[in-house]
């Protein structure tokens, strides 16, 4: 046994690194950059919705044609919306929880030196980087970024003359997504191989931390989902540039021109897209569930309630996640019989989600809760998950979707659960693992101020959306002045916009805390939270090969807190079998 040493050159150490820890941090920062872009876009959108006629000088500087004279056009609004959704879903929600934290902590938590395929790992990060570069490039091409939404429904997305941005901008969008699919497939294969092959001695599947279970299932979802999205993207490119008609039917006329396409089906795209798109929701949220489970147990000093039930719930969410895509298509014109089947399956997926919630409350019950910032975000996650999950009970019923489909009710629902709940999972993970990643502690006071304002803020932004939905407000409208009933809802939009300003503003505190603590934070000990999993048995930050050439041996389950008779109130996974002998 000997320790492996890190490469010395800057480029091999920090840029084209093979070290999963460096790659994890690279993914994290890529997501951090993306979330800044995505959040800024959302603020511009919220501004435009309540001031559709406002003249803002620098809009014209940024978008000389789409915001001529400083007034944002409806097409620019739609472009911002499309890019907001795309960047947030792909480059933030898919990237940070899985590729960021997963890359960094999966190998350490299972006692491995690195991922199974380090070169593939590096390749998958740099491919993601290229995908992001191509996506950002769509901002600067002629016609501007695409406006077909992150779901890119054809024929709108398939026909270059269906709107500004539907030319080169839309092409770049599809190319970027296809590249991203490739990167995600590489990552998924790597995660699956690592977790199956590289577990250390004693790390049986039922001793895996729940974080590892969620990364594992997320990787499987990614492998199956992104493969289908990649295929759909290739077909869409062919429709756009090679004259095929996979998604474009015959008999169409755009801008007074009759098209030559024949025989395609717009619904085919929706089936392929949502076959990926629904599992994608779980790709975003599952790692957050894993982190939440890990943190609730750690900070209430109690074993997780129903570990096996949690594992089975994760597995059944993953399995059922592939059978519910049709609930996005109740109004699409697909067979009304299949809608009924999809709705029953959708309700079925609510059951494992409810199991998780009950188990989280069961975990907290009888615990002794330590209110660290990381724990606050995990508790916030539970609250948001309940709120966002329950609105799904409305949308999962085709009968009720007859009204709610494509209203703000949907926007409120998915932002609550897949947006902010997942982001709370990332915040929780950041505060929890920062000491291990950077060797210093984050500031708890700043963290708590940031938490409280963010928590109330996201409720203030996204709860009113449900009422807008009940009042029938359609989504993807750039202004609300053309309809009598929408004009009356404007005060609600104004409130939400201001809530968004405040909530976005307070994120400065988080960024400050993050970067300030990297340099000036208190030095972190090896195990600041008295936690049990393997990453807390190595120095902060861990050595290059994670365990300094040692091979850890696991003797205990992942959540042994408050063990009666044990010398400490926790038993680490690597502690000797007979802890009392210590």
């Amino acid at each position: 046994m000997h320790a492996h040493h890190a490469p010395q050159g800057f480029i091999r150490k920090y840029v084209f690194s093979l070290d999963h820890k460096v790659i994890g941090i690279q993914y994290y920062f890529l997501a951090l950059f993306s979330v800044l872009v995505g959040m800024s876009l959302s603020l511009l959108m919220r501004f435009h919705m309540i001031h559709p006629d406002a003249k803002v000088g620098w809009f014209a500087t940024l978008w000389p044609t789409a915001a001529q004279g400083g007034i944002m056009t409806p097409e620019l609004y739609l472009s911002l919306m499309t890019m907001h959704g795309t960047i947030m879903v792909f480059f933030v929600l898919t990237t940070a929880p899985q590729s960021g934290f997963g890359n960094y902590f999966l190998p350490i938590q299972i006692g491995a030196e690195d991922m199974a395929f380090p070169v593939l790992n590096m390749l998958s990060f740099w491919t993601t980087f290229i995908a992001l570069a191509v996506m950002v490039a769509a901002f600067f091409v002629q016609g501007g970024p695409p406006l077909a939404g992150w779901t890119a429904y054809p024929p709108l997305s398939a026909l270059a003359n269906s709107g500004p941005g539907e030319g080169l901008g839309q092409t770049l969008w599809i190319v970027s997504i296809a590249i991203f699919c490739g990167a995600s497939l590489m990552g998924a294969i790597n995660f699956i191989a690592t977790i199956i092959d590289l577990r250390c001695q004693g790390m049986s599947l039922m001793r895996l931390p729940l974080t590892c279970w969620t990364w594992f299932v997320t990787a499987i979802l990614g492998l199956l989902g992104f493969a289908v999205l990649l295929a759909a993207g290739v077909l869409l490119i062919l429709d756009r540039s090679a004259g095929t008609s996979f998604f474009v039917p015959g008999g169409l006329m755009i801008s007074d021109q009759i098209l030559n396409h024949k025989g395609g089906s717009p619904l085919l795209w929706q089936h392929l897209f949502w076959f990926f798109g629904h599992p994608e929701v779980y790709i975003a949220i599952l790692p957050g569930m894993g982190v939440t489970s890990q943190l609730l147990s750690t900070f209430c000093r109690k074993p997780i309630f129903g570990y096996r039930a949690m594992v089975y719930a994760i597995l059944s969410i993953g399995f059922l996640g592939f059978m519910v895509w049709g609930h996005h298509m109740f109004m699409s014109g697909m067979s009304p019989y299949s809608a009924m089947a999809f709705s029953v399956l959708t309700m079925a997926i609510g059951v494992p989600s409810a199991i998780k919630t009950f188990n989280w409350i069961g975990t907290l019950w009888g615990g002794k809760i330590r209110f660290t910032t990381a724990m606050m975000f995990a508790l916030g996650f539970v609250s948001l998950f309940v709120t966002g999950g329950l609105s799904g009970i409305f949308l999962g019923q085709p009968a009720l979707d007859l009204y709610f489909h494509d209203t703000y009710f949907v926007v409120g629902h998915f932002h609550m659960i897949m947006g902010v709940a997942a982001i709370f999972g990332m915040f929780a993970g950041t505060f929890y693992w920062f000491p291990k990643m950077f060797g210093r502690m984050m500031n708890e006071t700043l963290g708590k101020i940031h938490f409280y304002i963010t928590f109330v803020g996201v409720y203030a932004i996204f709860t009113p959306m449900h009422f807008l939905g009940i009042a029938g407000n359609p989504r993807r409208y750039s202004d609300f002045t053309n309809f009598d009933f929408l004009g009356k809802l404007l005060p609600v939009h104004t409130f939400m916009t201001h809530a968004a300003y405040w909530t976005a503003g307070i994120q400065i505190l988080f960024f400050f805390n993050l970067f300030w603590s990297m340099k000036y934070g208190k030095k972190a000990p090896m195990n600041p939270w008295n936690a049990t999993t393997l990453e807390w048995t190595v120095s902060s930050p861990p050595p290059f090969d994670n365990f300094g050439g040692q091979h850890p041996v696991v003797n205990h389950g992942p959540y042994e807190y408050g063990v009666p008779g044990a010398p400490r109130d926790y038993v680490m996974q690597t502690d000797p079998v007979d802890v009392h002998a210590e």
């Binding site: 008999g251 009968a399 928590f455």
Partner: protein, 261 residues
């Protein structure tokens, strides 16, 4: 610890607005709308109770089980409780969706009324047009090559087809109150959507497909139709109206329209 009262206050505020109905549905104008609202209220009451108690319980455990020097209880869970709450949620969720299937079936699966008034919708970026077959009860032939929006022919009506001579084309939807209607939906370019809030009905209008939608409106009035599927830059202003008229007024309107043609 402060988190517990914050969660409680948020919960109470949210519950208040759902009960005050400050921003709410417009009144329904059909039997389907009334059934829809009943199903919504069933779902709201059940999810509302779960919401209130789940959030309240979360706040309670945060408050009650804060670190006050006790030792945490050592427990890996309880299979009896797992079984109870798994079966309870399964029964509740699946039961709820089953009670709603009647409403869905009534819209999409029931035997259509052969005497329903047929109306065709043609949607395009960014307008709706409506066509009535006229006294002969038949729609005339159309051809994309004859489409001329400026000349008031969005359907591409063929003047050589006698069945089309009496067809009425309108920019807004007029329907007789209390009569079954059959909407036949077409799109000329991208996907649009037909939505009338007061009807509690929505349907995508998909190019290349002919999608029928049956409904009946009982309360006369004018109701807005907002396009509800992203269709391009003018999506936010793609608007029409549906006027529900007493049957005699509707017949008179058709006669007037035919005379104006």
């Amino acid at each position: 610890m402060l988190l517990a009262p914050i969660i409680w206050v948020l919960t109470v505020v949210i519950c208040y607005f759902f009960m005050a109905k400050t921003w709410w549905f417009p009144p329904p104008i059909s039997a389907h709308g009334i059934a829809y609202d009943a199903q919504f209220m069933r779902t709201l009451v059940i999810t509302g109770i779960i919401f209130f108690f789940a959030q309240f319980a979360l706040g309670w455990v945060i408050f009650r089980f804060r670190d006050d020097g006790r030792r945490a209880t050592y427990s890996h869970g309880n299979n009896k409780w797992e079984t109870i709450w798994t079966s309870a949620t399964a029964v509740l969720f699946v039961g709820l969706v089953l009670t709603g299937t009647r409403i869905w079936a009534a819209v999409h699966l029931s035997e259509p009324d052969p005497n329903a008034v047929p109306i065709e919708i043609m949607s395009k970026q960014f307008a709706f047009s409506f066509r009535y077959p006229g006294p002969d009860g038949k729609f005339g032939a159309t051809d994309l090559k004859l489409v001329n929006d400026a000349a008031g022919n969005p359907f591409g009506l063929d003047d050589n087809d006698p069945a089309g001579k009496d067809d009425i084309v309108s920019a807004s939807l007029k329907v007789p109150a209390g009569k079954p209607i059959k909407l036949i939906m077409h799109s000329r370019d991208v996907i649009h959507n037909f939505f009338v809030r007061e009807l509690r009905l929505k349907q995508d209008i998909v190019p290349g497909m002919e999608i029928p939608l049956y409904f009946q409106a009982d309360t006369p009035g004018v109701y807005e139709i907002p396009c509800s599927e992203l269709c391009g830059l003018g999506h936010f202003q793609m608007r029409s109206t549906m006027e529900v008229m007493p049957e005699a007024d509707f017949e008179k309107w058709k006669v007037d329209q035919a005379a104006n043609r």
